[in-house]
Symmetry: C2
Subunit: 189 residues, 2 copies
Amino acid sequence: MVDFNEFLKKRRSIRDFEDKGVPLDIVKEIIKDSCLAPSSGHGQPWRFIIINKKGLIKRLSDESKANMLNSIEKNASSSVKQYEAVLRLEDYNVFYNAPCLVYIVGPKEARTLYVDCALAACYFMFSSIQRGLGTCWINLGSDIRNPETLEEIGLPENHRIVAPMIVGYPKSIPNPPDRNEPQILMVIS
Amino acid sequence: MVDFNEFLKKRRSIRDFEDKGVPLDIVKEIIKDSCLAPSSGHGQPWRFIIINKKGLIKRLSDESKANMLNSIEKNASSSVKQYEAVLRLEDYNVFYNAPCLVYIVGPKEARTLYVDCALAACYFMFSSIQRGLGTCWINLGSDIRNPETLEEIGLPENHRIVAPMIVGYPKSIPNPPDRNEPQILMVIS
């Protein structure tokens, strides 16, 4: 019998990777598992873009950083303002030099796109653990807007990036962060 | 060694339950596991409301149905218009007579509330499987707006219902639905 509890506790967000690529076949298996997630009305709005090339991943990091810094300059109450200092560090790669990046994306008009893709992302994380891989959902890597880049990565015009997932073999696994106690607002029984 | 693949494949959305309550302690364990989910900036915006009482669950179903039908009457392009026929069935309980309902909720101002709560909901589903329980995320059960009801269930004014999760012992487990092949838009390697 499986100790599922251990399984749930085992997942960590990984930001430190071995210098070792992820075979494309394995990435595709993980994506196949991700499609087992439930979705609203079984709509399955998730689509995937695999970028298994460190040079391009670095360029995407640079572009996302530049776009966010641009937003901050235009609007001091930007939601990414809190990350300004780190975004200004030239050496900071938002994707932590991961060997592989998978964008989970989907059509903008899908009403429940965000939660459906988040469920797929959760499956993605668990499927990766089985294969000895670590992942992290990198919100700061989603600000890709330059038309040439969107064309290069194959994001259709009516689609949106929801979850940029980095994947790689963990070099170190961090301790679990402290967590809040569950906040149960009401029990009616 | 665990066959994680089987684990991922095992989850089904359950809509048919034994007439048997779920012990409150078990519901609380599942909620504790749900709080192991990752969240943006480790914000952990999830809060929980446990309703372990069939009579109230039925009333919440009735209210959600009435509010949705009201929306449809006011706005024919309402996103729930497609469910109108089923919502008009008096016997239709959106919560499928489940013995337990947990609302995953959180503060409206949390920027990533929906995706963070979706990740917690995914953990909720997996933690439930371990305990022999089935779950289903019931979007149609989230349209609770009457002030007396919001007070009764303890939803603070600045909070929003994200995921109404039904929980119970499955009476029958449906076959997996057909699924689309993974749609990989681009591979760059």
